[in-house]
């Protein structure tokens, strides 16, 4: 033990930590629980009448199903593009010397641009140039939203690539391409998978940019937003609950497996 916090301090630290987690997780988990309540009035269901009727009603909601399909297509294309672009950006990062920080900031900065402003700016520029709002315009907006996250994840996964591996391969006559395919790529594959899934989820759940950029077929969050504000029906709880649960499951899987490679090894305390 490095520091002796004392029991009282430790209880305090854990209490605040748990409070923070409750603030983040309790409301969506409560919403999830409510979605299994057959009653129209939102409330916790009793264990005896847990029901899936609102989930069974989902396929009949054509607006939601159409929006979900649109969102899945957009999220898949966004994820492919964001992962590929971020891989290139990360490879460039390691080739650079002096301008590394500048390049890092260039890729990261779009994360801080407010969704409304990026959506508005892209939509205004597209409209002025005669580009109709469609799934492609949404993808353009989502790409810049997903790339910074994908970039950081891929960058972190490069920790597994020791320079000595590449130098050894070069000494044995491997070209840059062979080094990349045979050494770098297998080592960073978990990072690429994570980046893909994260980009997919970021796009799937993104609302403000899609609000400005979606064409005739809105994405799921845009449709959900409309329904949430016009007297929420329990079907909305079911859809929201299902999306939330699916997102959590995906990230939990990755996070436990590969996101924090150093997490398990830290035992020198």
């Amino acid at each position: 033990m490095m520091i002796h916090e004392g029991l009282a301090n430790r209880i305090l630290l854990w209490a605040i930590t748990i409070a923070g987690l409750i603030v983040i997780y309790a409301p969506p988990l409560y919403l999830l629980a409510v979605s299994f309540n057959p009653a129209l009035q939102p409330g916790l269901p009793s264990l005896s009448d847990l029901s899936l009727i609102w989930y069974a009603a989902l396929p009949k909601e054509h607006a939601l199903v159409g929006a979900l399909q649109q969102s899945l297509i957009i999220a898949t294309i966004t994820a492919v593009l964001a992962t590929g672009m971020s891989l290139l950006a990360a490879l460039a990062y390691f080739e650079l010397r002096a301008q590394r920080t500048a390049w890092f900031l260039t890729v990261i900065l779009p994360m801080f641009v407010p969704g409304v402003i990026q959506g508005l700016a892209l939509s205004a520029v597209f409209t002025r140039n005669g580009i109709k709002a469609s799934s492609l315009t949404v993808i353009a907006g989502h790409l810049l939203w997903a790339m910074p996250f994908a970039f950081i994840v891929i960058l972190t996964s490069f920790a597994a690539v020791r320079r000595s591996y590449l130098v050894a391969a070069a000494d044995l006559g491997a070209t840059r391409w062979r080094q990349f395919v045979d050494i770098t790529l297998p080592l960073i594959r978990p990072g690429l998978v994570s980046a893909f899934i994260f980009s997919f989820l970021l796009s799937l759940n993104e609302f403000t940019r899609a609000f400005y950029l979606a064409g005739r077929q809105n994405t799921l969050p845009v449709v959900l937003f409309g329904k949430m504000n016009s007297g929420a029906s329990p079907v909305i709880y079911a859809m929201s609950g299902a999306i939330f649960l699916a997102s959590v499951a995906c990230v939990a899987l990755i996070a436990i497996r590969s996101l924090w490679p150093g997490a398990g090894k830290r035992s020198t305390r």
């Binding site: 605040i16 641009v113 790409l143």
Partner: protein, 289 residues
């Protein structure tokens, strides 16, 4: 690896750079330029006559108060998030055992990739008149009538903002704690420093870049947020992003562009100054163990 050639870095950089320029920098630059153009009632669009009408309109109809209240909300939320995130990062990094450590890291990572819309919306079920909090308060006899100010109020908005952006503070704090050399803390301990002394004289100064980054990230995210106010704010509640939406509804482009320009200047200014002083980029760089 010798001989002159086209630097491979520039080849690799080209596709992502083009995407960033085409979908990010270029549209934003155009918006900044357009914010100085004037409204043309003939075309329902703007024309390239230099005009500060958009900026002048910010001073009308109490719009600047929305900007001020946004900055206040961002400041308050960022402070609240730090107060929760610092102990959290400490507990995750120093207190948690191996397995708990991984579980907590997962729990901190998950919110980045879930829907802010759904998470904000779910607070309605908790804070509403018939929500679970009001039900509990009445069952426990703490409140006689349902508390109306819980939902559709600034209270609800700030809670929603903290819930949405707390991980943005925890994440950089964790990264900065991972960089603290444990021998410093051990040395302080050996010299008789207690927990609070070690915390204030060693850990806090060494994690200053994480503290600043956490504050900045939350601040910037709140300045750009809209869903929390749309879902949880009361009648007439606003924040700059919602104000931009409202202005766009009446197609007042110069005003929308002028507000956007000011927000962009504030955000990029803060991030770049933060990077200059605290080396934000270095927090994420050189992650190799």
């Amino acid at each position: 690896m010798t001989g002159p050639r086209l630097p491979i870095s520039s080849v690799l950089m080209t596709p992502p750079l083009l995407a960033i320029l085409a979908f990010g920098l270029a549209p934003l630059t155009i918006v900044v330029v357009w914010s100085f153009w004037s409204w043309d009632p003939l075309t329902y669009w703007i024309k390239p006559d230099l005009s500060l009408a958009g900026y002048a309109a910010i001073l009308e109809a109490g719009r600047w108060t929305v900007i001020v209240s946004t900055l206040v909300k961002a400041f308050g939320t960022a402070l609240l998030c730090l107060l929760i995130a610092y102990p959290t990062a400490y507990a995750v990094h120093f207190l948690a055992g191996r397995h708990l450590n991984i579980i907590l890291l997962a729990l901190i990572t998950i919110p980045f990739f879930t829907s802010y819309l759904i998470r904000s919306f779910s607070w309605r079920l908790v804070l509403g008149r018939t929500g679970i909090l009001n039900t509990w308060l009445r069952d426990l006899g703490i409140a006689q009538a349902p508390l109306d100010w819980l939902l559709f109020s600034n209270f609800a908005v700030v809670i929603g903002l903290v819930a949405s952006y707390l991980p943005f503070a925890t994440f950089p704090l964790l990264l900065s704690m991972r960089r603290v050399d444990p021998t410093f803390l051990a040395a302080a301990q050996d010299l008789g420093a207690g927990f609070w002394k070690s915390l204030t004289s060693i850990l806090l100064p060494l994690t200053m870049s994480g503290i600043f980054a956490g504050f900045l990230f939350v601040f910037v995210m709140v300045v750009g947020s809209s869903t929390e106010v749309q879902m949880l704010g009361g009648a007439g509640a606003s924040i700059v992003s919602v104000m931009i939406n409202d202005v766009m509804r009446v197609a007042n482009y110069p005003l929308a562009f002028a507000i956007s320009t000011i927000v962009l200047v504030v955000i990029f200014g803060l991030v770049l100054i933060g990077n200059r002083i605290f080396g934000l980029a270095s927090l994420f760089e050189d992650q190799s163990p």
